[in-house]
């Protein structure tokens, strides 16, 4: 529907601006908070404009961290989060693309059952199975390790389902042409399927990276050594200052820093991401 009325245009823009303001306000407050000293926030009125302590706060977080809460410097936690998010995103993509490949292109006994089994696990996110999963991970000795942080989150029905749909849109003739051209299954996978689902892989990577980065409950549960704290769980620990007030200015500085990698991924892969979500032509 295309209408050309200035009034409607204005209304549309106002609505959009209101939406942006609602989303952006908390981020703004967090940013403002990260530029003040601790006492400014205890005075009862929240400042709405940036203060003069930006460099000081951020350099403290990047350098030393908050010793009172037992968290390591932000850099270590960011690195842990990055490793975890990358492992989860890459692991999920690798596993789901191969299982989708098996389900779509091979006829084996119980194929449909295999598909439904994968599909049903969608009903069992980490939060539902957290106690047994913790038990399994603990028994395998994977507490306080990158493997323990990422492996239980890697299996993904959603991604398998998505790749299955992508493969189903690839015309049969292409598969047949490849067969006649002498491409075996793995060659077909590497030479045809992977390049054709490139944009979908990118879109999924963005989503899964953010999913991995934002993991909170699971890392909080299985990491007890500060060497393996992730940033999202670390913010929680910082806010729980034991003796004394939470140092909100430092917590907010950490939150701002924690936002940067996902933002970078989204901006960096924006073009591919959008293409992967809207592109239908194969």
């Amino acid at each position: 529907m295309i209408e050309n009325r200035p009034g409607l245009n204005l209304l549309a823009h106002l609505t959009l601006m209101l939406g942006v303001a609602i989303v952006a306000l908390p981020v703004w407050v967090a940013f403002v908070a990260s530029t003040h000293t601790a006492t400014d926030f205890m005075s009862g009125t929240i400042p709405l404009w940036p203060g003069p302590h930006l460099i000081e706060n951020y350099s403290q977080m990047l350098g030393a961290g908050v010793s009172t809460s037992g968290t390591p410097p932000v850099g270590t936690m960011m690195l842990n989060s990055l490793i975890m998010a990358l492992l989860i995103a890459c692991g999920k993509i690798a596993i789901s693309i191969t299982s989708a490949f098996a389900i779509v292109y091979f006829r084996f006994p119980l194929r449909n059952m295999a598909f439904w089994c994968i599909f049903i696990t969608m009903m069992l996110p980490v939060e539902v199975r957290i106690v047994p999963t913790f038990q399994v991970v603990a028994d395998l000795g994977m507490l306080n390790s990158y493997a323990g942080l990422s492996i239980p989150l890697i299996a993904s029905a959603t991604a398998t389902f998505l790749f299955r749909q992508v493969f189903l849109t690839i015309p049969d003739e292409l598969t047949e042409a490849a067969r006649i051209d002498g491409a075996g299954p793995m060659k077909f996978f590497r030479d045809i399927l992977l390049p054709l689902s490139r944009t979908n892989i990118a879109a999924l990577f963005v989503i899964l990276f953010i999913y991995g980065w934002n993991q909170y409950l699971w890392p909080l549960l299985i990491t007890t050594s500060s060497d393996y704290y992730t940033i999202v769980a670390g913010i929680k620990r910082m806010a729980d200052a034991v003796d004394g007030l939470p140092q909100w200015h430092l917590v907010m500085a950490t939150a701002m820093l924690a936002m940067l990698p996902p933002v970078a991924v989204v901006i960096g892969m924006q073009r591919l991401f959008v293409k992967g979500l809207v592109e239908t032509e194969k």
Binding site: E176, R179, I180, G182, I192
Partner: protein, 335 residues
């Protein structure tokens, strides 16, 4: 280069449905065979069985002197051109052409030579570094043929390769395929539902109906002596008039026949003709006009020159020897 032999070939799908049955065809080396029939007649299934994309339920397929029933498509030494071209969208034209050769471990200089040669034959040289999506329908069609040519296979298999093109381009490409096949002398099997395409391309036609062969013969044989009412109505445009013999009992020799066939172009206006037709509609084609009418309760079409006089009823005669007689039940030809 090789001959292809289909011996009692049949296809039964998992559910027990029979798609193709008892097909025997001997295709000579270098011959251009066209499988033609209405949709669902099993012509594509048959082609795909030769290609190895469908399993063969009954009978044997030989390419050269080798039985290929259990041989992978890639090892059957055939190349196929698909209806929607099936070009790899992420590869350039050059890579599309080279992919099959690369997988076979053909040496690089040899690949380059063959790609250059095919590009020369098909005049796609300027597009070699483009992606398929940057090409027009006709150019894509050429690339698809190029992919078949570079392989230098024993046989080309065409699965309705022209049906995605517009009418004008189809005529041009039809001619190109014919010339190409003449030049390369590669055994070819071509599937189409378009009887005009079939007539113009084929050395021999195979007319299929409901999974069975109705007739095999050169285009003219099939046109002049259709083996059944199905072939008679399918080959030739406009279609042959098929009239129950009871509608025209006074024609000679019809006593034993169930159906009489007369091609619209074999009918002429004649004051003394034995057939009286009531005119119902006229279609102008420019050089000719098609007159549709009725005689004895049966539909009848006549091709007349565009300056012929028309009236509400026409008296028609037929050219001597142009009557086709078919049996009542199965509609087989009576000679």
């Amino acid at each position: 280069m090789a001959s292809i032999t289909l011996d009692k070939v049949g296809k039964i799908y998992a559910g027990g449905t029979r798609a193709v049955g008892d097909v025997n065809i001997d295709i000579a080396d270098g011959e251009f065979i066209v499988l033609v029939g209405p949709s669902g007649c099993g012509k594509s299934t048959l082609l795909r069985m030769v290609a190895g994309l469908e399993s063969i339920s009954e009978g044997t397929v030989r390419i050269g002197d080798r039985v290929v029933n259990d041989i992978e498509p890639a090892d059957r030494d055939i190349a196929m051109v698909f209806q929607n071209y099936a070009l790899y969208p992420h590869m350039s034209v050059r890579q599309n052409l080279a992919y099959g050769l690369k997988n076979r471990g053909t040496p690089k200089p040899e690949i380059e030579r063959r790609v250059a040669e095919a590009a020369e034959i098909l005049q796609i040289g300027p597009f070699l570094d483009r992606k398929p999506r940057a090409l027009s329908g006709g150019q894509r069609q050429r690339v698809a043929m190029g992919r078949a040519i570079v392989r230098e296979p024993a046989a080309f298999l065409f699965d309705e390769p022209l049906s995605n093109l517009d009418a004008k381009l189809r005529v041009t490409m039809r001619l190109e395929i014919k010339e190409l096949q003449r030049r390369l002398r590669t055994t070819s099997i071509y599937v189409t539902h378009d009887q005009l395409e079939a007539m113009t391309l084929a050395d021999r036609l195979v007319v299929l109906n409901a999974g069975r062969i109705e007739q095999i013969g050169t285009p003219l044989e099939v046109y002049r002596k259709p083996a059944s009412t199905f072939v008679a109505s399918f080959i030739g445009s406009p279609a042959m008039n098929l009239i129950s013999s009871t509608a025209l009992p006074h024609l000679p020799g019809v006593a034993h026949a169930g159906t009489i066939g007369i091609r619209p172009e074999d009918l002429t206006v004649s004051a003394t003709g034995p057939i009286l037709m009531d005119v119902l509609a006229v279609e102008e084609l420019g050089a000719q006009r098609l007159v549709h009418g009725q005689t004895g309760g049966e539909r009848l079409t006549v091709t007349l020159s565009s300056n012929a006089e028309l009236s509400d009823s026409l008296r028609l005669d037929y050219r001597p020897g142009s009557l086709h007689l078919f049996t009542a039940g199965e509609g087989r030809r009576i000679d």
